[in-house]
């Protein structure tokens, strides 16, 4: 669409890639932090807040790097961009729902993120190599924790299994976007900056299938994939998330701690 071209045209493939990964981390971190103080039990509350903090830390690094060239701080990108300029995948902006849906979203995203970060350590880009090296350990924990909860809820009571299946069903349609390669990503892959996600799609699907088998859950049936987040076409949920997240710095200008 010509109307959105100006924003994208300014971005080279590297910056765009940094924004995609940075916005994924920021939005998922913000989503999880919504549960702070609302977790089903104290231990899970702390656990989810830890995951959120890891992600916000990753976003700080990625958005800081994305804004470095134009001398925009990471905060500027996080708090003063409009929804159409966000490049996160649609999966991470989906609402928390119940605990099972939160876990389903985390399993599907961090399993992908972990495979990506493993490969990103061989990137031609020094910043991304160092970033991946640090983040891959955090995300390995996220992935394992989400898998453990998926298995316990799936193989738990009738109600927990039903909720887990519903959570997976809700989030499943956003998986194909994780493996979509558009022009911008293609260019980043060509330059050796980004790994090609299609190279690990089979592995991803078999790892998820393995977790679901252990959880005694069926693999959700494929639905019409929903795409567009990487180009700024978001579901209605992101605007609400950003409103809460951006309200303070936007209303009160240059407030600081």
């Amino acid at each position: 669409m010509a109307t959105i071209a100006p924003v994208d045209a300014r971005l080279d493939a590297r910056e765009d890639y940094l924004l995609r990964l940075g916005d994924d981390a920021l939005v998922l971190g913000q989503r999880l932090s919504e549960l702070c103080g609302h977790g089903p039990i104290l231990e899970i509350d702390i656990s989810l807040a830890n995951l959120a903090l890891d992600l916000v830390g990753q976003a700080t690094l990625l958005l800081g790097e994305a804004g470095a060239k134009e001398d925009q701080g990471g905060d500027r990108l996080a708090f003063h961009r409009d929804v159409l300029d966000f490049k996160n995948c649609l999966l991470v902006e989906q609402p928390n729902g119940d605990f099972a849906q939160t876990i389903a979203r985390h399993l599907l995203y961090t399993t992908w993120q972990h495979m990506l970060l493993q490969r990103l350590q061989q990137s031609s880009d020094r910043f991304l190599v160092e970033f991946a090296h640090k983040a891959v350990k955090e995300v390995a924990y996220h992935r394992a924790l989400a898998a453990e909860w998926t298995i316990r809820l799936g193989d738990g009571t009738g109600e927990s299994a039903r909720r887990m299946a519903e959570g997976l069903d809700w989030t499943w349609r956003f998986v194909p976007e994780l493996f979509e390669v558009d022009e911008s990503l293609h260019s980043a892959i060509e330059r050796g900056i980004a790994p090609d996600p299609r190279s690990f799609e089979d592995e991803y699907r078999s790892v998820i299938a393995e977790v679901l088998a252990q959880a005694e859950l069926a693999i959700p049936s494929d639905q019409r994939p929903i795409l567009g987040g990487r180009r700024g076409h978001h579901t209605e949920h992101l605007g609400h998330l950003l409103a809460v997240m951006q309200f303070l710095p936007r209303t009160h200008g240059e407030v600081s701690w």
């Binding site: 977790g39 089903p40 609402p95 928390n96 939160t102 316990r152 909720r163």
Partner: protein, 104 residues
């Protein structure tokens, strides 16, 4: 935020309690730091990690079902511990410990 099932009453009481032990550094013994609720040992380890080692407090964790701990009876404290009070010769205070020896 839709929080169906997320913010409801809490299930801690359904889950067993686990005592958490952290080894701060190689060479030190595990020390009791507190407890967590969890449905099983694996998740008790995760909860312990997230609750007690967020600030690099440890390099190793143990969790033990609280129910597995056999505790002395406070009412027996007199019989159990007081006889040691008058036996100061059991304390290693009659020889010097080199300054380099830590954690003794």
């Amino acid at each position: 935020m839709s929080s169906e099932g997320v913010s409801s009453g809490g299930v801690s009481s359904d889950w067993p309690l686990w005592e958490v032990f952290v080894r701060a550094r190689g060479g030190l013994s595990h020390r009791h730091v507190g407890s967590v609720h969890a449905p099983d040992g694996e998740l008790a380890l995760r909860h312990a990690r997230d609750t007690y080692t967020r600030r690099m407090e440890g390099v190793s964790l143990w969790v033990v079902p609280s129910a597995a701990i056999v505790a002395s009876d406070p009412d027996e404290a007199g019989a159990l511990f007081e006889p040691a009070e008058s036996k100061i010769y059991r304390h290693p205070t009659f020889y010097d410990i080199p300054d380099e020896v830590k954690h003794i």
